[in-house]
Symmetry: C2
Subunit: 306 residues, 2 copies
């Protein structure tokens, strides 16, 4: 793999940025990678673990001379960070981001992008329930999708170059319109996360079942929910606030369907339940065939291990 950008600047040093650094290094995709995080503790941690070739004490210093600047901050902070950096961006540079919501990021960032700078929003569909600079690893994006969401007038060469970077980091790349992206993600990620958060909250609230019972006896179903519900609170608050319409639409559909299944339980309609569960099982098979997950048993935790 050859160098795609001479200098890359990562702004915000959480799970995604730290994984990007290790993935870029693994494949030798950049000459130098600079990094900046607002918190001095995060910068100190990054220096300690060798994250980035150079950690800068200001965002402007990290961005200066960069061919690619990637905003890796929570979606709600993208606009302010872009405003702060606008005057430092090098002519001909590409500005990108990794936010989970695209319409809001585009509306917040695009007005600040100077003439001659290419704005190419992106969203890597990868994550874990861990966060922070220590949580990254080079393989996070391997065989995952990264969605590029060009804006009106995005330079085709700049889009193609960014696509090559993501492929070099292990991703598959697709291009998508911002509004469609936000709807697809509401279905596949945002609504499921809110639902998992809710169920974990209900379990905690229930006074007749102790927390320790919930924790001891959490079988597959609940345990998988707790993994999802352990994701970064700031990131997810911003996702829901900025992808409000699509998330609320999906949640509306969800409660409609849930009420139908509750009614089937109440009235003892076993056929409806059986048919529904048979259909959802087939969807799972489709996901395995599409290579998005493994068929390994025990929910992927390895054979019966903890």
């Amino acid at each position: 793999m050859s160098v795609i950008y001479d200098r890359v600047a990562l702004i915000g040093l959480g799970l995604i940025a730290s994984s990007m650094y290790w993935a870029i290094k693994r494949a030798g995709l950049a000459g130098e990678v600079t990094g900046y995080a607002r918190s001095p503790e995060t910068r100190a941690t990054a220096r300690e673990i060798g994250l980035c070739d150079r950690i800068c004490d200001t965002a402007a210093e990290a961005v200066e001379g960069a061919d690619l600047v990637v905003l890796c901050v929570p979606v709600g902070a993208m606009g302010d960070v872009a405003a702060e950096l606008a005057s430092v961006l090098k002519p001909g540079a590409t500005l990108s981001d990794v936010g989970s919501v695209k319409r809001h990021v585009i509306d917040a960032v695009a007005p600040h992008v100077p003439e001659g700078v290419h704005f190419v929003p992106a969203h890597p569909l990868a994550g874990t329930e861990h966060s922070g600079p220590r949580s990254g690893f080079a393989e996070l994006f391997d065989n995952r999708w990264c969605l590029l969401v060009p804006v009106a007038g995005s330079d085709a060469g700049a889009v193609d170059r960014l696509a090559r970077l993501w492929r070099g980091m292990g991703s598959n790349v697709d291009v998508m319109d911002a509004d469609h992206h936000d709807l697809v993600l509401a279905v596949t990620s945002h609504a499921p996360h809110l639902i998992a958060y809710t169920m974990v909250g209900v379990a905690d609230d229930l006074r007749r079942v102790t927390d320790s019972e919930v924790i001891k006896y959490s079988a597959a179903g609940f345990r998988d929910f707790t993994r999802i519900a352990a994701s970064d609170p700031t990131m997810w608050r911003d996702v829901f606030l900025t992808n409000k319409d699509a998330t609320l639409e999906i949640l509306g559909r969800f409660t409609e369907e849930l009420f139908a299944l509750q009614r089937a339980i109440r009235t003892g309609d076993g056929q409806l339940l059986f048919d529904y569960f048979t259909r959802t099982r087939a969807i799972r098979r489709g996901i395995i065939q599409a290579g998005q997950d493994t068929a390994a048993p025990d929910f992927g935790r390895g054979k019966g291990g903890t």
Copy 2:
């Protein structure tokens, strides 16, 4: 490990029974294990893969002379199977089951249990999204909980002996009252499964997002739901029909909470969302500390691999 029962009969040869066989063999816990399944195909598969020391063509033959008979059929079929076997059970034998709902199983089975036979219901909290005789493996129960739910007048010696079998198969064992069991499981397993089924169904229904998009771009949240929603349809239909009250109660609480979070999204109450998500993250930490899951990233699928 020494032999705990001279002869064990497994009735129904799905994931749980087949895992029990391999776990019993691993530790040498029984002299002989017989097996029976209603379907000739399942019996043929069992013989082909060497599941059980002896596969019988009738349930009565499998049960004859057994010291322990374990009903491993869907919860809705337990009563009929118990009625069929009642006259063949050996005096002094223990009759148990592995159903996910306990009050219903007790009500359906207990009336058929002859004098002199010890009825000790049980529920191993272990599973995968796979089913059938080929899906079992010896490690399924390792470090998982098995809940014993003795009925009024259960013989203490029989309960203790069954507990030793489950410990020998790798489980931790607790004893619990049937109604409390059903409530705990409604929270930790039954409601989460229904919710996952619902969300997967919604995704499939949504016409503006294609199935192929849902499948390709299913990130962690949705993908974990599809695992849960791929579980055995017959088993889960029976669970919901037979643990109706507790499941509906939990789902009622769930929709209340979900509406509160939806309202926070709609009104832009970021603080409520942030506080809620911070609380659920702490619950996850408790589960890891209790040893019920690993802290491995990427939802346990291994570092970024598929």
